[in-house]
Point group: C2
Chain length 468, copies 2
């Protein structure tokens, strides 16, 4: 079921001769097996597309470069594949082509603790990276919820729960290795924390969703594991109160590490899924990092602000185990919500607005969703002004999808009016293309096209994404 408004593009068939040459070059690491192709033609978006014509399991940058060169010779698209957790259809083969599976490139190549950086292959997932960093005194904070790969997170400019304190992939990628459309291997950036040496090629690729090059190595900034961590849950009678509390918190410049909103629907879903007994009201899930004294200061100031907005006394998660349980539940919100309506799919929104406009942005959204009567849940990295509504639609009922898309469009346009963006962290993919045009304007889209044309004249790199 392809959504009618999706820019599906024309399928370019992969010529037999290309498949033959891929098989010759990659042997058993290349397959056209139906099940494998199907698995590589599906992400967490609510969209369907035909599967890729084949999958190359790449083991190194040279494999990627060779695959890109071979596909380029036949004008056949290439699409990088990591965890398959993209939410906007980024990895769907809407114009056909070959999927380059990078999950075998999963080595942590070098931990440079004395410079607080790490060099990884793109298939490393964020949980495994942090597992390998466990004894280094450092951690990698970017946490989009899903156990995404670092390559995928780089390509979508991901962020998540810790971004309010530690920034996004934009701020935490130091250097890249990228395979360009002609197979050239490019290195960007250095190990220095800052540089004014020429164009910022690193940030050209961060967030380019595989359309300008394929990322085969990433050097990331790390952060010291905080001396002290405290997590707390604070419940509110309404989403509006929780949002007002967040706005004051951020405006007070308390260096909170995480500030997450869940509405009552999301809380109910995770209670059921993760057997928790959180009060089934809107809540803020917060975490403070710092010295013991610093954490105490932050928590105290925050509790005062929360109380002034009708927030409950903080319920503390004191042990690492309790914190992990809580954050796991938060990360399961999406899956938990899907289970509240068996067989449903989820249309997810991703706006981000300046913090002062967050109340207007969320309150009107909640009112519209309630009035529409479609099942939904709301979670948000509200400290950043970013939140997600998931409309749970029955894929058999086109009217539900249409309604969800209508609510989404209203929400996005409100965010744009408030000075915000259509995508805080999920990227554009297939689903936000028209919104991107409204947000960025024709001159910006024209420039993006100029860049795409300059870097990928034959249009083989993940075509049909970001813009048509």
């Amino acid at each position: 079921m392809n959504h009618p408004t999706l820019p599906a593009g024309r399928i370019r068939p992969a010529p037999d001769e290309l498949l033959r040459q891929l098989e010759q070059r990659f042997g058993a690491s290349f397959t056209t097996a139906r099940a494998v192709c199907a698995q590589h033609g599906r992400d967490e978006s609510p969209f369907d597309a035909p599967p890729p014509a084949g999958v190359v399991f790449c083991a190194c940058t040279e494999d990627v470069a060779d695959a890109v060169r071979l596909c380029g010779a036949f004008a056949t698209p290439v699409i990088a594949f990591g965890a398959g957790s993209s939410l906007e259809g980024q990895l769907l083969a809407v114009q056909g082509g070959i999927s380059l599976d990078l999950t075998r490139m999963d080595r942590v190549l070098e931990i440079v603790a004395e410079d607080m950086l790490v060099r990884v292959q793109p298939g490393v997932t964020r949980l495994r990276l942090n597992d390998e960093l466990r004894h280094s005194g450092l951690f990698f904070p970017i946490d989009p919820g899903a156990d995404a790969t670092i390559g995928g997170m780089t390509a979508t400019r991901a962020s998540g729960t810790n971004a309010v304190r530690y920034g996004t992939m934009r701020e935490n990628v130091l250097a890249l290795t990228v395979v360009l459309a002609d197979g050239t291997v490019l290195r960007t950036g250095t190990r220095a924390r800052k540089s004014s040496a020429g164009y910022d090629l690193t940030r050209l690729f961060v967030g380019s969703e595989g359309t300008l090059g394929i990322i085969t190595e990433v050097t990331l900034r790390l952060h010291p594991q905080p001396q002290a961590v405290a997590a707390a849950v604070c419940s509110f009678a309404s989403v509006a109160q929780a949002v007002d509390c967040t706005i004051e918190l951020i405006q007070s410049a308390i260096p909170i590490a995480r500030c997450e909103l869940m509405d009552a629907n999301a809380v109910r879903a995770v209670n059921a899924h993760d057997r928790l007994d959180l009060p089934e009201q809107p809540l803020l899930l917060m975490e403070f990092h710092g010295s013991a004294e610093g954490v105490r200061e932050q928590a105290q100031a925050t509790q005062q602000i929360a109380a002034a907005h009708g927030g409950s006394d903080f319920a503390w998660a004191d042990t690492p185990e309790e914190r992990t349980r809580l954050w796991k539940a938060r990360h399961h919100a999406y899956l938990s919500a899907l289970q509240t309506r068996p067989g449903c799919r989820c249309v997810t929104t991703d706006t981000c607005v300046p913090i002062s406009r967050l109340a207007e942005s969320i309150n009107d959204t909640v009112a519209e969703a309630d009035a529409a009567g479609l099942p939904y849940f709301l979670v948000g990295h509200v400290g950043d002004g970013n939140f997600h509504v998931g409309y749970l639609i029955d894929p058999q009922l086109p009217a539900e999808r249409e309604l969800a898309e209508k609510l989404n469009a209203r929400l996005v346009r409100r965010a744009l009016r408030l000075g915000g963006t259509c995508s805080g962290e999920h990227g554009v993919g297939l689903h936000k293309q028209e919104f991107l045009r409204e947000e960025a304007g024709d001159a910006a889209i024209a420039l993006m096209r100029t860049l795409k044309q300059a870097l990928d004249p034959a249009g083989i790199l993940n075509p049909g994404k970001i813009f048509r």
Copy 2:
């Protein structure tokens, strides 16, 4: 006197017809007066070039767009001009052309305190911006020393003393208005703190040194004025000890706001220029921001680390006036040093290395400079791994310039070997082009050229800079 190794380029004369049309469009705001052109053809670099053929004093984005369009029609270069404080020859009219003076575009357009951001015209200087922010509870931290314009700082991806805590222009520019080579007015970014909506056009222009577009409006992130500020001076017997102290300090993740090194030559120069009585030894000039308790914690931890590396007891600058006096002196280091050798010019280095390699980077540099016998001084944003040696050369003695360049080349190549960059904050301009090639590699330079060609096919935007 043009330095022999400078890529000077071919001068393209500005046709009389262009001058006539500029005069018609801009009236008294366009001039070809020799003194004005001369002033606009000179920056703080040690290089000379012929002055531009004329200067347009632009008052708004439309002025810039019209000037660019007119010059484009005659294939005549345009070069943006702000404070004239660039250090690498960025504003020199090495291929002729028209200087666009943006200093009349000096309005702070909108302070949005509740979202901690500000929208400014490019001609606003950082001191005036902070002056206007004085009562907002916010400040703009990026501080390259010179009272540069925000437009120039954006174009060179500037940083300076506060970057160790607050980041550089890369992290603090939210949105831009840019005039492209064909006169199109482009808007990039939004007011949201983060976004995954399409290519990062904002960061494409940050650091592009006027070669991809001319920045006519900037939206900046602001930061809360810290509750408490403390500044301290700590002297060391050797530069090496001060550097070792800095490395441990950064590796301990103390969130120091400023951590500046001055060698004994620099201290002597500022003592003389600013009538201070700092001990004429290598010193660290540090500043701590936070809550009163947080600042105490940071300072205490830092004093312990310093003492372990032979540092003196901290001399505190307790009042805002004392702090201002101290930082002014630091910012005067460059001018003060110039005055120690009347008539000299300064060849400035700008490498930045990963913090663990800073000792090797600085100590070998000091040994080489001492051995060479050329007057020099050393200052550094060492918390970032960035430092500057200024070799004070007699412009009448080509041998001195050659020696300075030889020392510079050795220093840069060492930084590159250590995983660093040839430019931490000054940009490439004319002077670092060959080093950029060594640092970034041929594939990266080819890609930069591709971008330049795609955005400015006629090569009218500040030609001859960054790469030939």
